[in-house]
C-alpha cells in the first residue's frame, strides 16, 4: 500500500479511540466476549462491551460481508400472477474493529472474487463499499492453530486490505492509515494520536519475525502440496485415505473465511409472496454437485477432499483468483473431527510425493 500514514496511539487511550468510533453514525462491529467465554464479532453500543484481548474468533468477521444467509430479492405476485420484485435495502454503514490479518486477507480474496473478477456481485459490492475495516495485528500467535506465516502474503501483520491497522507494540499501538475510509477514522482520533517515528517500523518487524517463528512450521508442506496438487501428482491412495477420515460434515468450509460457495433457495411467505435467499454451502457435502438426474459427479468423500484441496491450492485457481485459497487462520484445524485440516492434508500430500518418488 502506498502513502500509508503512520501514527502512534498510547495503549491507555484505546478506550477513547473506540469511544470516538461510536460517535460516528456507522454501526460498530467489534469482538465481544460471550457469557461462556467465546469471543465473537457483534454490533456494540458501548466500549465496555468490546474485548480487545482475544486470539481469534471461531466465526470469521467476514460474516458481516458474506452472511451465512441473505435475501437476494423478494417477490409479490399480482392478480394475474405477474411478479413484482423488490431488491434488498441498502446495507448499513459499518465499521468492523479488530479484524485479524488472516481475516483481512480473506476479505481481499473475496473482494477479488466478487468484485474485481466480473461479473460483479452487487450484493457483496454494496456491503463492502459501506464497510470500513480496522485491522488488529497480532503481537503473538492468536491461537496455537495459526499458520498464516506459511501462507502467501500472510503473517501476523497485514500488508494490505485494511483501511486502518493497529499493531500492538508494548504500551502503544502503531496506527497505519491506508485509505480514505481510514482517514475518516483517523480524523476522529486526531487528538489521541501523534505521528510515528520510523524506528517503530523496525521494532514491529522484529516482533513480527518472533511471532512467525512461534507458529507451526509447515511452510514447506504447503509449498510442496501446491506443486503436487497442481501437477496432479498425488497418489490416489492419499486422497482415498483422506476421504476415509472425512465425516463430510462441511465444518471446514463453513468456518473457512475464504470459502465463498453458496446455495440458492426460494422461500414462500404465502401463496403470492416470498423471497429468494442464498446461504453458505459446502463442497464437502455429497449433495453439492448432485444433478437433477440424481447423478453425483463427486460421489465420494475422497473425490470431494481432492476437489477442496485443488480449488484452494492449485496454481490453476491462483491464476484466476490472484492468491491461494488459504489464509492460515487455523479454523479448519479447530473444527475438523477427522484431523484432515489444511496443514494435515498438506503434510499427507507431501508424504505422498515422497512415496511416489521412491
Amino acid at each position: 500500500m502506498n502513502n500509508v500514514e503512520r501514527y502512534v496511539l498510547p495503549a491507555a487511550k484505546l478506550g477513547q479511540a473506540l469511544d470516538a468510533l461510536l460517535e460516528l453514525p456507522d454501526q460498530l462491529i467489534a469482538p465481544v466476549q460471550a457469557a461462556r467465554g467465546d469471543v465473537h464479532f457483534e454490533s456494540v453500543e458501548g466500549v465496555d462491551q468490546i474485548q480487545t484481548d482475544y486470539g481469534n474468533t471461531l466465526v470469521s468477521p467476514i460474516e458481516y460481508l458474506l452472511p451465512s444467509q441473505e435475501i437476494m430479492f423478494e417477490y409479490r405476485l399480482g392478480p394475474q400472477g405477474q411478479p413484482e420484485f423488490t431488491a434488498p435495502a441498502a446495507p448499513p454503514d459499518r465499521i468492523i474493529f479488530g479484524l485479524r490479518p488472516c481475516d483481512v486477507a480473506a476479505i481481499e480474496y473475496a473482494d477479488h472474487f466478487y468484485v474485481e473478477r466480473e461479473p460483479i456481485d452487487t450484493l457483496y459490492a454494496a456491503r463492502r463499499q459501506a464497510t470500513t475495516l480496522i485491522a488488529l495485528a497480532c503481537a503473538e500467535p492468536a491461537n496455537e492453530t495459526c499458520f498464516c506465516s506459511c501462507c502467501e502474503g500472510g503473517g501476523p501483520v497485514s500488508e494490505s486490505g485494511f483501511d486502518i491497522q493497529l499493531t500492538p507494540l508494548g504500551d502503544q499501538y502503531l496506527v497505519e492509515v491506508a485509505t480514505e475510509k481510514g482517514q475518516r477514522i483517523a480524523q476522529q482520533w486526531q487528538s489521541l494520536v501523534k505521528p510515528a517515528a520510523d524506528e517503530l517500523l523496525e521494532v514491529r518487524e522484529a516482533q513480527t519475525r518472533e511471532v512467525m517463528e512461534q507458529q507451526l512450521e509447515i511452510e514447506s508442506y504447503l509449498a510442496a502440496a501446491i506443486r503436487r496438487i497442481t501437477a496432479e501428482k498425488v497418489n490416489p491412495d492419499t486422497w482415498e485415505a483422506i476421504g476415509h477420515d472425512c465425516y463430510s460434515c462441511g465444518g471446514c468450509s463453513y468456518l473457512c473465511p475464504v470459502c465463498t460457495c453458496y446455495d440458492v433457495v426460494d422461500v414462500q411467505y404465502d401463496d403470492t409472496s416470498g423471497a429468494r435467499i442464498r446461504r453458505t454451502d459446502s463442497c464437502r457435502l455429497a449433495g453439492f454437485v448432485r444433478e437433477a438426474t440424481g447423478h453425483i459427479p463427486r460421489a465420494t468423500a475422497s473425490s470431494r477432499a481432492r476437489w477442496y484441496a485443488y480449488h484452494k491450492l492449485s496454481y490453476d485457481y491462483h491464476e484466476q483468483y490472484g492468491r491461494y485459497g488459504c489464509v492460515g487462520c487455523g479454523r479448519c484445524v479447530i473444527t475438523c473431527l477427522g484431523q484432515i485440516d489444511m496443514p494435515a492434508v498438506c503434510a499427507r500430500v507431501r508424504q505422498s510425493e515422497t512415496e511416489a518418488a521412491s
Partner: protein, 276 residues
C-alpha cells in the same frame, strides 16, 4: 463492468407443447418490453417463483428476441422441473440470462457442420440448427445425426420430419430400440451406427455434439475416424448450477466454471480438465 442480475425478468407462458411423456416445450414471452439477445448455445436460469431456479438451454432462434423456447424434462425429484410441468398457458416465470459462451457459429463460416444430438441433447443444439438454416449460405454441408432411446422419446418430431425432406440439411435419425412403436420405419441402432454411411470432409468439418455423457467417448471415436480434429469438436456440458455467473461454485470441473467458461468446450479443452 458487468454486474450480476440477481433479479429475474418476468415472462409469460405463451404456449406449452408436450414433446414426450416427460418433456414439454415452453414458449416464454418477456413482459418487460426489453429485447433478450443471445447466442446459440447459451442458456438461461428459469424460475418458478417460490419453488426455485434451474438452468435450461435456450431452444429457439437467436433471431427472435422478444420470446424464447425451452424444453424441460420432468424429473420426479426435481423441484423446479416438477413445478414447471404443473404450469399452464398464461402463467408467469422468471428468466435470468443469457449465460455462458454459446457455440462460435460465426467462426464456422465456410465449413461443413456436423451436429450430433442424443435424446434431450437436441434442445441444446436447436438454436444452432435454426441459426445455421437461417444463415444457410454461410456454410457448406449441414448434417444432423439424432438418436433417441425409442421413437416416442424423440423431441421436436415435426422439425425432424421437415428437415428429413429439406434440401438444406441432411437429417438422419435413429432409435436404440423400437419399443412398442411398430410404426417406426427408420433406423434402429446406437447413434454411432449413423456414422457408417456418413460421407463428410472431416478436416473441413466443425462438429457440435450434445447428449448423455455416456455417448461422448463413442461419438468422439467416430468423429476422429472421420478426420475431425479434437479442437473442432464442440460439446455443451451440463452441471448442477445455482447462480449461472461463476460465483456459487457448484458447476466447477477442474479450474473451469461450466456456467461462465462454458457450457461449450472443445474436446481439446475437455481433455485438459482436471478432476471430476
Amino acid at each position: 463492468m458487468e454486474q450480476v442480475d440477481h433479479i429475474p425478468r418476468p415472462a409469460i407462458i405463451e404456449s406449452i407443447r408436450p414433446e414426450t411423456p416427460t418433456e414439454k416445450t415452453f414458449a416464454l414471452r418477456f413482459t418487460d418490453g426489453e429485447p433478450f439477445n443471445f447466442q446459440a448455445g447459451q442458456f438461461c436460469m428459469l424460475s418458478v417463483l417460490g419453488k426455485g431456479e434451474a438452468p435450461f438451454c435456450i431452444a429457439s432462434s437467436p433471431a427472435r428476441t422478444d420470446a424464447i423456447k425451452v424444453t424441460v424434462r420432468h424429473y420426479p425429484g426435481g423441484e423446479v422441473t416438477s413445478a414447471l410441468h404443473e404450469l399452464t398457458k398464461g402463467d408467469y416465470v422468471g428468466i435470468r440470462g443469457p449465460m455462458g459462451n454459446g457455440f462460435p457459429l460465426q467462426d464456422f463460416a465456410g465449413r461443413d457442420i456436423l451436429v450430433v444430438a442424443g435424446g434431450i441433447g437436441l434442445p441444446a443444439v436447436q438454436a444452432s440448427l435454426l441459426y445455421l438454416l437461417e444463415h444457410r449460405s454461410d456454410y457448406r454441408n449441414v448434417t444432423l445425426l439424432y438418436g433417441a432411446r425409442t421413437p416416442g422419446d424423440r423431441v421436436y418430431k415435426d422439425d425432424l420430419a421437415e428437415w428429413e425432406q429439406s434440401p438444406d440439411i441432411v437429417c438422419k435419425q435413429t432409435v436404440d430400440m423400437k419399443g412398442d412403436d411398430d410404426s417406426w420405419e427408420g433406423h434402429v441402432g446406437l447413434i454411432t451406427t449413423l456414422f457408417e454411411a456418413l460421407e463428410i470432409d472431416g478436416p473441413q468439418t466443425s462438429a457440435i455434439i450434445v447428449g448423455p455423457a455416456v455417448m461422448y467417448p463413442f461419438v468422439v471415436a467416430e468423429c476422429r475416424q472421420k478426420g475431425i480434429a479434437d479442437e473442432n469438436m464442440y460439446f455443451s456440458l451440463e452441471r448442477h448450477m445455482k447462480c449461472g455467473v461463476g460465483k456459487c461454485g457448484h458447476c466447477t470441473i477442474g479450474d473451469k466454471y461450466v456456467c461462465l467458461d462454458g457450457p461449450v468446450f472443445t474436446y481439446s479443452e475437455m481433455q485438459q480438465m482436471k478432476g471430476e
